[in-house]
């Protein structure tokens, strides 16, 4: 394979050519209600070629590896159809490396029968929790992936990776009222992470049932405290996406707004992103351009100090590469993506944060999030009113929304309980379901718009 790939990228009379070949092997199962609805094993083999010719890009992806050389020609030919390109790549040292799997417990060695038995038990716990439980979605998946990258600059990297994920979702019903709650467990290296989730199953069920009697929040502006899982989503949605240099590098106006050195928040606010964290959901050694991963400070002491780059955006902005070029799979080109995005440890204990709030909302547990430039929206699974410094009546999930610039400035407390417990999947443009990590301590935001009825 190595000989064939390196031969295919060599001597092509281009600025740059890269080939990625990906193999994966995935197992999944899903219980819905009392039945095991889906159990499957899928295998994938595919590749892609990206070519830069006189500053213009061409790209071709394929499943038939027999057509590899033809697809290199096609990518180059497509690049030549655009005579007006001004793209370039930041210089990096070529890398030759092999990154093998390092597993604590390999999920591929666990018999399917064992996985089914384990998740059937979690499913049984949720279903048996209360007569109000209407149905469940209890699923497991593991996915082995091997990506080989060969470039005309001499980089040749083989990286293996594993993603393991369990989802325990409960749905409770009372007449026309239906509520959902879920818990997840993820790991990069250990099947053990999805064992012993009985308590989580119970928590998901209990939360779904308790949401049945919760009131909806009244829409309006509130002081809001976010738990670590939700604050991580906030860091990802509200700020992370704007830190992706491909939004900025060809947009002069946005570049002025996102100028390094600008003050965005209080001195106690620090946000970073990086794949160079051991075994987190968004971790890796090299990105899909073969650039080594690192930790990139984005906001330090409230000041914008960095952003996330691919080789292309780094070249155009004259900044350092950060190892954030990722492709969701071989069908797509690498673009600037987050890896593990987190708000760093602060100093305010949760109880203290709460004590100052006369009337506010404590929002917990991620439901989802979305962003469009400076506007963001994300939602919690459950919430509580805060009255006179104490947690009061439970609320249904709330939708929080705002403008990133005013909202970052309105963060007035960062907790001392940093946790990376969350972690999800991110979509950008046509590339969805990219594994990302998120982390944060509790944070408090003044004057946040909450939607409700």
């Amino acid at each position: 394979m190595r000989e064939r790939l390196t031969a295919a990228v060599r001597g092509r009379n281009t600025d740059y050519v890269e080939i990625r070949v990906e193999e994966n092997d995935s197992t999944r199962l899903l219980f819905r209600g009392k039945d095991l609805e889906d159990v499957a094993r899928t295998v994938n083999l595919g590749g892609c070629v990206r070519a830069l010719v006189k500053g213009s890009w061409g790209f071709a992806s394929f499943n038939d590896l027999g057509s590899l050389e033809e697809m290199v020609d096609l990518a180059i030919q497509q690049a030549r159809l655009n005579p007006a390109g001004d793209n370039a790549l930041a210089r990096v040292e070529p890398v030759v490396d092999t990154v093998p799997l390092q597993l604590v417990r390999d999920p591929r060695e666990v018999p399917l029968a064992e996985k089914v038995r384990l998740f059937a038990e979690y499913n049984r716990i949720i279903l048996g929790h209360s007569p109000a439980i209407q149905t469940t979605q209890v699923g497991y998946g593991d996915s082995y992936r091997k990506v080989t990258l060969a470039t005309s600059e001499g980089t040749y990297v083989e990286q293996e990776g594993m993603q393991i994920r369990g989802v325990l979702a409960a749905m409770a019903r009372d007449g026309a009222r239906i509520e959902q709650a879920h818990e997840i467990a993820t790991s990069r290296n250990d099947f053990g992470a999805v064992e012993g989730l009985e308590d989580k199953a119970g928590r998901a069920a209990a939360r779904a049932v308790s949401l049945l009697t919760a009131q909806a929040a009244k829409g309006g502006e509130y002081t809001v405290i976010l738990d670590p899982r939700l604050a991580g989503v906030f860091a990802h949605e509200a700020f992370g996406h704007l830190s992706e240099a491909d939004h900025v590098y060809e947009n002069d106006k946005l570049r002025e707004i996102m100028v390094l050195g600008r003050k965005f928040g209080g001195d106690f606010l620090n946000i970073a992103d990086g794949a160079d964290l051991p075994a987190h959901r968004g971790s890796y050694k090299y990105d899909d351009e073969g650039v080594p991963s690192e930790i990139t400070p984005l906001i330090k002491d409230g000041v914008l100090v960095g952003r996330l780059h691919s080789r292309e955006t780094a070249a155009k902005m004259g900044e350092r590469v950060t190892g954030n070029a990722r492709a969701v799979n071989y069908r797509f080109r690498p673009i600037v993506r987050m890896t593990n995005t987190y708000i760093e440890q602060g100093s305010v204990p949760f109880q203290e944060m709460l004590a100052d709030v006369k009337e506010g909302i404590y929002a917990k547990d991620m439901y989802g999030g979305e962003t469009a430039m400076e506007m963001f929206t994300f939602s919690s699974e459950e919430a509580f009113m805060i009255r006179n410094g104490r947690l009061a009546e439970p609320l249904r999930g709330v939708l929080l929304s705002g403008n990133v610039f005013t909202t970052l400035a309105n963060i007035d407390a960062v907790g001392n309980d940093l946790s990376f417990e969350g972690g999800g999947s991110c979509g950008k443009g046509e590339q969805s379901n990219l594994p990302v990590g998120i982390g944060s301590p509790h944070i408090r935001i003044q004057k946040c718009v909450v939607g409700g009825r």
Binding site: N63, Q78, L112, E370, M373, G452
Partner: protein
């Protein structure tokens, strides 16, 4: 390199299982993308792969592959998981009379890259001619697919389809105020109306030139077709999904035949509309496509089903079994069509003293869809004052419940339905009052 022979896979699987089905797709997807006013990248994606579903000892086994491999490997994998699979509640359809639903245009397949580049450039030039300060992006996509479905009961379906798609948008920044507008359209035919897409984008930029503010409270709200589709359709689509019904999670379970909505509301799932990208002669299980009333004159009429889910509840498949290469079929809509009402959009606007018209939302997925709740951030919406548009509103959220809104609060449905994104066709809708929350 060897390729996997689907007839061989089927024959081998049929010998070892009660029933078997091979689903095979070949796709060539060619998007031409423009960023920051310029051609960014030309791409070609050639996807090919197949999946095998079988029934062994009454249980479903499934595997998918994009890797050339011996038929026996696929069959072994599917048999291995069948031991744990769901109990099969269906028989695969044998070949029957299938009506023609056109979805192929040789003009799309024959579209040259040069022509696509030119087209994209023309759209961007038009938008820049309107306002050169807009930073424009566009994508023109040519998609050609071949689907083959064979099963051990003699069922055999082949479908050859083309889709031409266009999306166009831009970004305008003044101070720290940003405006991002995108519109898209898709059709199986080459005769897509690109100028209409450009015009929709320009209209948004024009309307957003001024800003307005609304109080928090209950206000009249109009949704244009795109916002209707993004905000209000998902809770309904979920509730009519046979899977949701079978799980007991649909608020409509056991309520077919009931007057659930205002009598002016009718919604159809129609997989037979010619040249719509989600139409076809059959679904992805070989069941013929049809037009299924979901709501007719406000009465809940039918749920939509695939084979297995229908079998579980003792219903018939409605030809709504759809799948991706790697997934089992499940109930999914084809084209969703909402019947027109009798009020023009202009009359709706003229009727509002103080209210909101919504063009685009964010976060609509975040509501409790199963309960019928919707809750969204108004990404593009305008204040209406004394029957006139009065500026873009920001930091505004809307919320409500589709069952309550379409029963108690429906003021009018528009007299002109529009295609949105090539798969839904619906008119504007006007509610007397919905909850609006704004930043003061």
């Amino acid at each position: 390199m060897p390729t996997t022979d689907i007839e061989e896979v089927l024959a081998l699987a049929a010998r070892q299982a009660e029933e078997a089905e091979v689903y095979s797709v070949r796709v060539e997807d060619t998007p031409v993308s423009f960023e920051a006013n310029k051609l960014k990248i030309l791409q070609t994606r050639r996807i090919s792969g197949l999946s095998l579903r079988l029934i062994k000892n009454g249980r479903v086994g499934f595997t998918a592959s994009t890797k050339p491999e011996p038929a026996a490997d696929l069959v072994d994998r599917a048999l291995a998981v069948a031991e744990f699979g769901a109990e099969a509640k269906f028989s695969l359809p044998s070949s029957g009379v299938v009506r023609e639903v056109p979805g192929y245009d040789p003009l799309v397949e024959g579209l040259e890259l040069d022509a696509m580049i030119e087209l994209g450039q023309r759209l961007i030039e038009k938008l820049r001619a309107y306002n050169p300060a807009i930073l424009c992006g566009a994508s023109i996509g040519r998609y050609v697919s071949t689907m083959e479905l064979l099963n051990s009961r003699g069922g055999s379906v082949g479908e050859h389809k083309t889709v031409l798609s266009a999306s166009l948008g831009g970004n305008l920044i003044e101070g720290t105020s940003m405006l991002d507008v995108w519109e898209s359209d898709a059709s199986c035919l080459a005769s897509l109306d690109f100028d209409a897409t450009v015009q929709r984008v320009i209209d948004q930029f024009e309307m957003a030139k001024t800003t307005g503010s609304l109080p928090t409270g209950e206000l009249p709200v109009i949704f244009v077709p795109k916002a209707f589709a993004e905000t209000l359709l998902s809770p309904l689509i979920v509730a009519f999904n046979g899977k949701t019904v079978q799980q007991g999670a649909s608020p409509l379970k056991g309520r077919l035949g009931e007057q659930v909505f205002d009598p002016r509301l009718s919604i159809y799932d129609d997989g037979t509309l010619p040249y719509a990208p989600r139409s076809g002669p059959t679904d992805d299980e070989g069941v013929p496509s049809r037009r299924t009333p979901l709501v007719e004159n406000g009465v809940a009429k039918n749920f939509y089903y695939d084979l297995q889910t229908a079998g579980l509840v003792g219903a018939e498949s409605t030809g709504n079994g759809f799948r991706s290469l790697e997934s089992l079929p499940g109930p999914s809509t084809t084209n969703t069509v909402v019947a027109e009402g009798d009020t023009s959009l202009a009359d709706m606007i003229a009727d509002v003293k103080e209210g909101l018209i919504v063009y685009q939302v964010m976060g609509a997925w975040a509501g409790n869809l199963l309960a019928g709740d919707f809750s969204a951030n108004v990404h593009l919406g305008y204040k209406i004052e004394n029957g006139q548009l009065a500026g873009r509103v920001k930091d505004t959220m809307i919320a409500g419940n589709v069952y309550e809104a379409f029963k108690e609060r429906l003021q009018a449905l528009g007299d002109k339905a529009e295609w949105v994104g090539g798969s839904t066709k619906l008119p504007p809708v006007y509610f007397r009052a919905l909850s609006v929350a704004t930043k003061q």
